[in-house]
Symmetry: D2
Subunit: 399 residues, 4 copies
């Protein structure tokens, strides 16, 4: 299926099902919806071995041997339309994914190949889970008809000079940068629909922009002295073997890192500045703590004279009441990271501070889901004209 | 819907879907499969608020405020046919589930009621997640047409004297005990199909019987001196407030408990003895360790003269090759509990011991899923004539 | 030994040892320093069973069955002068400490008694580890000649109306409150020397005041908008059986709690206001995270015009360069909680913020040691005229 | 000080102190016991900066940048006679220990040097914490008068062919091997007294031999079918950066590893075979679990006809009743690893099995202390004729 057909589908959005009967748009009618068979096969048939389904959107995962890559695989296992047909991992080329991630050993997937050996002719869409810095060149070389969601930081910063400043090397694909859409789904959904290349947001920026952008747009908080104290699980550091991320170095403790210099700073400030239509500089201090998944941002803000915490609450309520994945808790309820683990939800709330005129915003996400692979699937759903929650209907795993 | 209809369905098993078109058995034809709407609603519609689906099997969860109860809710969120219409929790009566389990706050569920106030007239099936000792009386009082899966230990022991010996009180429902079917799905599937009441196995017994039963049946291991060293996560102890289960008392350590006296012993010995057709006494030592979910059983066995580890491997392969949820790993690969977390899988393998003539069996499960709520859903699927994996297609959450 | 003799000793401070020969002050000469025998017994003697030493200061631990009580016992095991002769625990009366805390089973200690049955006639000093609210009455009833360090919050607030406001009950010992000395050792050492009753600081207040007080005194930070984001281990919540502190509820996650309402707030504000000689209101948000011990406070401050981060660094260096337990790290080095675990150290540092004119202070302690029992021992050392580090020479346990 | 003097001291053992007066053996009289000053300096003197003590045994730590090296440093901080004067770390040469282990930043220690640049002329004793395989050559090159405790596996196996078989390379110092004494202190104390080179036992072998050796010697257990199921913390794997030991790969799970092939097997079998005076082959399965420190061995044994569990208990009681660091718990009490954390204790107990004629032994240690650096200090104490518990009087850190 060519991406041009999908583009049309996205615009028409005539595809839907209802009440047990399937009403198809023209777009879908030329595909056998083979995936149906997986939903309720006959119980007489041993479904285990025959489950290799032909799904209608053929997806490539570049960089499948890292945590964001394997998380894409986990999520897509329940996606009725996205089927993985290509996986790359340069250092693990020739291996099965199950040998690298034994928790995925039950999946029937193509072996991983080196990205240089990948054949994209049978691919409709790409999740690019490669490291920062290497991604621009690779995406530049992909066929133009593919829908691409890039999970690296390589296309997140609109200003390529800022990219160079923070990443220490010139941008390799400035033309592509111009067409890249920043993929904070709830904020930029309409642009994402039409995008060819989506720059999937970072985990910290997601947890920070979701509560702040609606409030900044509504002029409900001061733009100066926004203090952000974030706490992250360890999977955000990836699967690379580093002494600092050993169990023994992480368990039973916490520490700040990257104080004032974390590479997510320009992305955060870009998003907030756009919302404000003026340059914002934030205080941002991330902390690394013993949890594999999860992220909390505790954000300390000042309100303009006359604005109350109730005003902030109401604004967030209006902003997110029709969203599935962003949930404003009832007044006074505190979000916990463990209440979103494994899911695409962002829980948030706002609290009065002891200091009059100040408020405290708290948001929590799973850094690998809403902070990475989950939002990536959400974005590709939007790009494909599919319901945003397809493949994402996982409730949090607790305890 | 009466359970008798479901019984018919189970026998006929003519229900299936294929290729985008729904071919219904007679059984299903009198229900609108409203659940379809949830699979792919029109993207124009804000599906979040309208998602309250009418599913066709109305399920009650008794004891919803514990970990196995909340796990049932998590799993059923993706089950196309089981819809929760009743939840009980005596001490939390009147509360919403989201107030007790904030990770489930996004679910639209009935408030919890006291079990004495529950109306079972609109219920087709029951998951009973109540504590040991209280369950017999309550199940005895339920309408006879309900399908019941009981997750407590109250109906697991066929010998009611043994129940009395280990639980310190006489059995309250000896008649019901006679018709209860022990629900180790892969071993007793055919009996479960016809059951009215399934006694869902304990977590330790599940992890131990799955590898041992096929080998015992095939006379491939000695019946004496079976040494079982099990390691469990903490959620198996439930959500009750006990000093011994505080974070500070569990983190960063391990200890044995219930040595020789753990209440799962008679259940384990019952299952193995039945497979052997002779009384087996095992050595069983459980350990409590710092993980919320997960269980490993390391089992040390002697082989009869002439039997090799390869024979054991082949027997397990034959036993489970057509099973979705029980997976024998490739030779030499070691199961990890973290590779089944959140999923209904049991991974296993068998290894040669240094001591000639001995073998080491290792199996891992998530104690709350295959060891409790997941197997319970699997069992109700079987009882209802549905595909066993319905609502259970969760890949493990790793890391 | 009467406490008046110790008071004299404290003033004279003529007690010291040097070069293998012991020069004793008059105060010590009337005691046989039996403890010497423990330092280097003859290797021929089996020291294990004969180690019950008579130490010269007889110490009582009230509330020995909680974590701060057991931590006092751990620390005093290496204290050459403090010997425990009385332990109370109302609900565990009649039991040995080893039965309640098996890690202390090797210690030869008196069995615990109910506080009402305790005989204080053979006691020189008391560590009071009882819960808030019960302590005032009990301390009021103790003999007047005892040196007392109270680890509860009951005597920390100078203003008894503030106590009533935050603790919901009238102060039971207002006269004693007047003579209580707030025991932040490095800040109030001189007052502690002469104290009869020391109110040992809370863990959060310790981690917050140590970096802030010298800077406030030197007018190097603005008094408004001090934002404190603290992260605590779970042992601070004590050993009481609460659902919220179960392993399953704490592991692998983080959450804020007591936002704006934590009972340590008035204590923090009292200390900072005194340093400033004007009323300070702070923003204080504690977080609970999966570690048994440890606490980090990340503090966001504004500097007056013209003040630089280097000025702050120099001021902290001057304040603490002669302190053993408060350590300012080298510029740019980040304190980790795991680098103080089990020790009485407070590590701290100060960093420039991205927002000009702002700074970020970070301090870490072990909440049970410098945040509780360690500082209590340090305080009693000061009250007794002993070297402050006696019994506290434990390096951090890492990993 | 030459080691020959120490040897004399060991034999004479005339050094002791008592009742506040120091009675010195001839051996000690020629040294000023400067360390005395640290025990109770005048409180007027800021002791922090002046604490650099001259201790009388000058110790080198080879391989100081690993966990066993840093643990030696932690323990020696409270040792009155052992002072560290040399530290090596090839890849960290030129750095301070505090830069590599910030938890030790308060210690005044020499910078690390490459082992090839080390000057051993001012050294009395050596703790060798280098990796397996590199140690034989280095120890061969050390001055002959040094007392050496080697924490690697390089001198543990008496049979150099067995070394070659398990470590895949020929032994580089067969002559030295002959004089090496295996340093399981409680078992081989007399040989250790006279040793020049002690091979410090591995962690698993320590936890296994301590309970088994006395029972085997007394013919109280069968020599066949000894089943050992061990559970270890992660620090045993060292500080090397390996994917398998990342926090994300270890937290919240358990797995077996090195089944039948772990390199501690020959060491275990050597010790048990010596006790039995006949060749023993054991079943040994180690497990890796989420704790930084700690190790439990659960050992399943058969008893000869007529022997009871009480016999085993009494034998262990006799064997260890005069030992400080090996503690048999009261009957029925279960050892927990967290009850020895940070200490040199081994707790153990024996339990009846459900299967008649069988028993279950449980022992717990801190793998870095009694399983490595603590036992190493204990051994050097013995070699030097000092009390065994010098520098080891740390109670467990709990919680």
């Amino acid at each position: 299926m060519s991406s041009s057909i999908f583009s049309a589908a996205r615009l028409d959005s005539r595809c839907f099902w209802k009440e047990g009967k399937i009403a198809k748009s023209d777009m879908w009618s030329n595909k056998r919806l083979l995936v149906r068979a997986s939903i309720a096969p006959s119980p007489q048939i041993a479904w285990k071995k025959s489950e290799k389904l032909q799904k209608d959107v053929r997806v490539a995962v570049l960089g499948a041997s890292g945590y964001t890559g394997s998380e894409i695989v986990r999520l897509l296992a329940n996606h009725p339309h996205f089927g993985i047909t290509l996986m790359t991992a340069d250092r693990k080329a020739g291996q099965s994914l199950g040998s690298v991630f034994p928790h995925l050993i039950t999946q029937d997937l193509p072996d991983m190949v080196a990205v240089k050996d990948a054949d994209f002719s049978e691919v409709d869409a790409v999740f690019c889970c490669l490291p920062h810095g290497t991604t621009q060149e690779i995406i530049k070389g992909l066929p133009k008809n593919l829908k691409i969601v890039d999970l690296s930081a390589d296309f997140r910063l609109r200003d390529i000079l800022e990219y160079e400043e923070w990443y220490g090397q010139p941008h390799q694909a400035p033309e592509l940068q111009k067409e890249a859409v920043y993929g904070l789904t709830e904020i930029s959904r309409e642009d994402i629909r039409h995008a060819h290349l989506v720059a999937n947001p970072g985990c910290y920026p997601t947890s920070i922009q979701l509560p702040l952008v609606p409030l900044i747009r509504a002029n409900l908080i001061q733009l100066k002295n926004i203090i952000i104290d974030s706490k992250s699980g360890v999977s955000g550091a990836g699967r690379g073997a580093k002494e600092a991320n050993l169990y023994t170095e992480i368990a039973e403790g916490i520490h700040s890192y990257g104080i004032t210099k974390h590479r997510h700073v320009p992305e955060i400030e870009q998003g907030l500045s756009e919302a404000a239509r003026s340059k914002i500089t934030v205080s941002f201090t991330p902390h690394l703590m013993p949890m594999s998944r999860g992220m909390q941002s505790t954000i300390y803000v000042e309100m303009p004279s006359g604005v109350t915490v109730d005003d902030l609450y109401e604004q967030l309520k209006v902003a997110y009441q029709d969203e599935e994945f962003v949930v404003l808790l009832g007044k006074g309820n505190v979000p916990h990271t463990r209440h979103v683990r494994g899911s695409n939800y962002c829980l948030m709330n706002v609290f009065p501070d002891r200091i009059p005129g100040r408020a405290i915003l708290i948001s929590v996400i799973d850094n690998l889901v809403k902070g990475a692979s989950g939002q990536a699937v959400q974005n590709l759903n939007v790009m494909m004209g599919l319901p945003e929650n397809m493949g994402l209907k996982y409730l949090p795993l607790f305890p």
